[in-house]
C-alpha cells in the first residue's frame, strides 16, 4: 500500500502550484485553473485521509461533493469571464481595473 505521506505530498505540490498560478498569472481563465488545482489538492487529501476513517466513506463522499461544486463554480466563472470579455475585450485581470478609489 502506498503510504499516506505520498498522497499528502502530492496534494501539497498541487496546492502550491495552484497558489503560484493564481498569484502570478494574469489571465482569468488560467486563474480559474489554479483554483481548480487547489480544489483537487484538497480532494486528494480527503480521499487519502478517508482510508483511516473508521466510517471509511466520509472523506470520499466529501470529495464527490467538491467535484460537483467545482464544476458549478467553473460554469459560473466562465460565464462571468465571457461577460467581462464582452465589455473589456480582454480576459487579463490587470486590464480589468476601472474601479478605484
Amino acid at each position: 500500500m502506498i503510504p499516506l505521506e505520498h498522497f499528502l505530498i502530492l496534494g501539497a505540490i498541487l496546492f502550491s502550484i495552484g497558489i503560484a498560478v493564481i498569484v502570478s498569472r494574469k489571465n482569468a481563465i488560467v486563474v480559474l485553473m489554479g483554483i481548480e488545482l487547489i480544489l483537487n489538492a484538497a480532494n486528494i487529501n480527503l480521499v487519502a485521509f478517508s482510508q483511516y476513517d473508521p466510517n471509511m466513506l466520509q472523506g470520499q463522499l466529501f470529495a464527490i461533493f467538491v467535484i460537483v461544486l467545482a464544476a458549478a463554480e467553473s460554469a459560473v466563472g466562465l460565464a462571468i469571464i465571457l461577460r467581462v470579455y464582452h465589455y473589456f475585450k480582454t480576459t487579463s485581470l490587470d486590464r480589468v481595473s476601472e474601479l478605484k478609489g
Partner: protein, 505 residues
Amino acid sequence: MFENFDYTGLNATLENVLGSVAQLMPELLLATFILLLILIDLIFKNTPKSIFSIISLLGLAGVLFFTHRQGNQLTEATALFGQMLQLDRLGVILKYLFGISGILTVFLSWSKEEKDWHEKGEYFALVFGLLLGAFLMVMTTNLLMIFLSIELVSISSYILANFTQKRKSAEAGIKYLVFGATASAVMLYGLSFWYGFSGTLDFTSFQFINGLQSAPQLPVLVASFMVFAGLLFKITAVPFHFWTPDVYEGAPTPIVALFSVVPKIAGLGLLIRLLGISFQQNILWSESIIWRDVLGVLAILTMVVGNFSALWQKNAKRMMAYSSIGHSGLFLAGILAFSAFGIQSLLFYAFVYMLMNFAAFYLIEMVEDKTGKVMINDYQGLGLRIPFLGALFVLVMIALTGLPPTAGFTAKLLIFSALTESYQEVQSPILLYLIITGLISTVVSLFYYLKIPYVMFFKGNAEDSLKMKLNVGNKVLALLLVTSLLLLFLKSNWLTNLIDHINYF
C-alpha cells in the same frame, strides 16, 4: 448478496432523515421558491417585476412564519440528518435576521428601472439561493455542510454581483469570483486537514476536539488559519477585505445592501459555532488564548483599516463598503469577549446593523435611481431642496456612528460593556486594546459619516442641487427603517427580550 445488510440501521437512518425534513420547513420553503420563481419566469414570459416581487415577499413571509414556529417548538438543541445540521436558538434568531433582510432586499429592488433587468425571475431566485445558503450556514455542525453552504452563498453572490448590464458590474463580478473562489478553495484545503487529524467531519464531537488536540500543533495551526481565512473573507475582515470596495461600487445597490448584511452575519454565526462559545462550552477553542490574540489583532486592524480608509472616499457606496469593514472589526470584538453577554450584544448589534445598512443603502439608492449619481459631492444642496431626505440621512449616519438617540448607540454600548466585563474577568491585554481601538475608530467614523449630511446642507444651494422627487413608497419605507432605529433606542427591550431567550444549552 444482501444477507449481512443491517436493515435496522437503515430504518433508523431513514426515520432520522424523514424526521429532520419535517423540522426544516423554512429551508424547504426557500428551496421551493427558488424553483417556483425560475419556473414562472420560464413559462410566463414578460411577467412584470412587481409580480415576482410579490411572490418573493409571500415566500419570505412564509419563511419567517415557519422560522417563528421552529423557534416556538424548540425546547433543546436538536441534531438533524445525523449531526449534519443543528437546530438551536442561535440559528433561529439569525434566520429571523436573514428573512427580514430578504424582505428588505425585495423592497429595495422594487423601484429599480425595468430596463436594467432582463432576467427578473433569476434575480429573485438567486436572492433566495443566497438566503438558503445563509440559513444552512448558521445551522451547520459538519465540515461538509460548512463548505456546501458557503459555496451556495458564494456562487449566488458571484452572479448577483454581475446583475446589471454595466461595465462596472462585470468587473465587480469577476473580482468577487477570483477572490471568493480562491478563499473557499484554500478553506477547503484546511478543512481536509481538519478531517485528517480527527477522522470525523462533525466538528462538535469529542472525537474532533480530541483529534485536533493530540495532533502536532503546527499543522493544526496552519490548517485552522486556512479555514478561518475563508470565514474572514466572508466577514470582510482585514487582510481579506480587498474585494469589498470594488464589489460594493460595481454591484447593484439592493444587492450590495444584501451582501453587506447576510453573508457577513452568516459568517459570524458560523465563526461563533466554530469557536464553540455557543455550543457546549467547547474546550479547545475558547481556552486556547492564541486564537483570541490572533483574531484580536485582526479585529483591531479591521477597525483601523476600515474606518481610516473610509475617510478618503468620494463615492457613497465605496464609503459604505469601508464602513462595513469597520463594523466587522467590532463584530469580531464582540465574539472575542467569549461570553454569553458578548454573543447577546453581538446579536443585538447585528439586528441594528442590518436596519442601519439597509436604511443607508436605500437612501443612497433613491438618489442613484433618480439621478444616477453616487458621488458624495453630487449631494450638494440636496438637503435644502428635500429636507425630508436630508433629515433621514442625518439620522441614519448618526446611527451608523453610534450616537444617541438611535439604536446604533445602544448596540455599541452593549458591545463595549461586554468587552469591559470580559476584560475585568480575564485581564487579557488584547481586550483592552480592542476597547481603545473601538472607541477611537468611533470618533474617526464621525468625520466620514457626517460628511454626507454636511455636504447636503452646508455646500451648494437648493437651486443647483440634483433634481429629484420622492414618491410615497420611497418615503414610507425610508421612514419605517429610520423609525425602527429610533424605536429600538427607546424600546431596546423589544429586541433584547427576543435575544435573552438564548440559552446556550
